[in-house]
């Protein structure tokens, strides 16, 4: 698992105030793979995900120890601008959260911030929506509010919005937990498609989902990384008893 790591986490501890949410985590995420983070609620998997694009900076009273290397650079080094990191590492949230703007402006929001010129914008919007397999459904209603879309469409819109930034990595925080099975299937197909071009790290509560879509799986329990291996290995021959108990549904 040493080869082509895009993110390396070295001995990271994370605190909410005095509470330690992550304990001495070290792991590597591989390029163009789908990595699933699983574990019971409160195990720190979402916290870890939000550490990777410095979203936890927005919460008061949090503290990080250790280093997270993205393409060889520690993203928590003092001279690193979190805004730059977030432009390269996109994120999709649990609840679809389109802006109360038009579909077009939702996608164009990010690129406009980076100063993409108006001429390239239309093409970029189209390309992003096509990548997220939403183009055919929305191409005639681009100037309608994104709030009118269904939950599944909204989530694909959010994926398209993240893709419009041309990120290297896509973080997904339980992206299908608020969706129906059909929308979920569409998002999973989409993830399958996207991993050719992107590195995807996904938090999920759904173990079948982790088994279906991921190449590697990491199991967390109370802030500790318990086991991290190829997905088929984790789901067929886990090395740690806790992992086995969790994936067979004995707890969690």
């Amino acid at each position: 698992m040493e080869s082509n790591a895009i993110i390396s986490i070295n001995r990271v501890n994370f605190y909410y105030g005095a509470v330690r949410a992550l304990t001495d985590i070290s792991m590597k995420f591989r390029k163009n793979k789908v990595t699933a983070l699983i574990g019971p609620s409160g195990c720190g998997k979402s916290t870890l995900l939000r550490l990777l694009n410095r979203m936890n900076d927005l919460i008061d009273g949090t503290r990080v120890e250790g280093e997270i290397l993205f393409e060889g650079q520690n993203i928590y080094a003092p001279d690193v601008d979190p805004v730059e990191i977030r432009r390269k590492i996109g994120m999709v949230f649990q609840k679809p959260n389109p802006f109360p703007k038009t579909i077009y402006n939702n996608i164009a929001y990010g690129p406009k911030l980076t100063g993409v010129n108006a001429g390239d914008l239309d093409a970029l919007v189209e390309q992003s929506l096509k990548q997220a397999v939403l183009w055919d459904e929305v191409k005639d209603i681009m100037s309608k509010s994104a709030m009118n879309l269904s939950g599944g469409q909204q989530q694909r819109l959010c994926i398209a919005r993240a893709l419009a930034m041309k990120p290297d990595i896509l973080l997904m925080d339980e992206p299908t937990s608020a969706l129906d099975p059909i929308s979920t299937a569409k998002i999973e197909e989409l993830i399958e498609e996207l991993k050719k071009d992107y590195t995807i790290i996904i938090v999920t509560h759904n173990m079948q989902q982790a088994a279906r879509i991921s190449d590697e799986t990491a199991f967390f329990y109370i802030g500790n990384l318990i086991e991290y291996n190829k997905t088929e290995k984790i789901f067929t021959k886990p090395e740690v008893k806790q992992t086995e108990d969790y994936i067979t549904g004995r707890f969690g």
Binding site: V83, F93, G110, A162
Partner: protein, 295 residues
């Protein structure tokens, strides 16, 4: 008495209390119109609203309130121009930027400002702002539009700021997260996501702030100067409608035409504040239904 009867009685008692304010409002509006409308047997509505001369005690009197309407509108508008940026920016600072400790202090100071009696503010305008303005800008009087607007703005800021603040707080966390995750800075997030999403609430705040300013009596009575003429510059005195009513009501004979005219001014004021409230209501509902989708 069984439980159901009790419930019914309680329900009607609450209904009664709720109706009290409606009934009182109805009675006030009724008497306003009963006292004011007789004027229009003597003066046409057009001459009243657009007449240029307000000489209620002359013989024959003339009841043209256009200068008073202009006076009210101009101080209200100018006060709005001053109060909206200050109020909205204070709200943004409090809800989005300020650290916890400063936030609490600022909020209570602004609430304190709301609690200042208008007569105290009027005093301040009269005794401190007016002489300073007169000397500094070499004006015939310091009691003028600018002075009144500044004081009215100070009164409207707490209204605008606290309602805007509620609107900003109500913007879902998810929108902000989405914006930050796309690499927006705090400033970009505020300007492009939070403000548009809170626009309905902020518009309501502005409307209610204006309603507060246009109906305010004591301040304009004390510092607007009281000249019932169309102003030629922002440093002229004006006589806004509430000031006229308050200043003249004590001297009018009961049910004289001057008396009716003052009530008729009351009707105009009532309609204006009603309009502001309706617009505020409309704006907030409209945005709520469609989302600010087209922004």
């Amino acid at each position: 008495m069984n439980r159901q009867t009790k419930e019914i009685i309680i329900k009607y008692i609450f209904l009664l209390f709720a109706l009290v304010s409606v009934i009182v409002l109805g009675l006030i509006v009724f008497s306003l119109f009963r006292e004011g409308l007789p004027l229009f047997t003597e003066v046409s509505v057009k001459d009243f609203l657009f007449g240029m001369e307000w000489y209620p005690t002359y013989d024959p009197p003339s009841f043209g309130i256009f200068p008073l309407i202009v006076g009210s509108l101009i101080v209200t508008l100018l006060a709005t121009f001053i109060a909206v940026p200050l109020g909205v920016m204070a709200a943004i600072y409090i809800s989005e930027i300020a650290p916890q400790a400063i936030k609490e202090t600022l909020k209570s100071v602004i609430e304190l400002l709301a609690g200042l009696p208008s007569v105290v503010l009027g005093f301040f305008g009269m005794v401190i702002v007016a002489p300073w303005m007169q000397e500094t800008f070499d004006l015939p009087t310091g009691l003028n539009i600018v002075n009144a607007s500044v004081i009215l703005a100070i009164m409207a800021i707490p209204t605008i700021s606290s309602i805007s603040e509620d609107a900003l707080y109500a913007v879902p966390r998810e929108f902000k997260d989405a914006s930050y995750a796309l690499g927006a800075t705090k400033f970009e997030t505020i300007v492009k996501v939070i403000l548009p999403a809170a626009m309905s609430g902020i518009s309501t705040a502005v409307m209610l702030g204006m309603a507060r300013a246009i109906g305010e009596t004591m301040v304009v009575l004390m510092v607007a100067g009281g000249a019932a003429a169309i102003p030629e510059s922002l440093f002229d005195s004006v006589r806004p409608m509430p000031a006229s009513i308050a200043a003249e009501m004590g001297e009018t004979p009961y049910r004289s035409s001057h008396y009716s005219a003052l009530f008729a001014i009351g009707i105009v004021l009532f309609c204006l504040t009603l309009a502001f409230n309706l617009i505020a209501d409309y704006v907030s509902h409209k945005f709520r239904q469609i989302g600010s989708g087209t922004l």
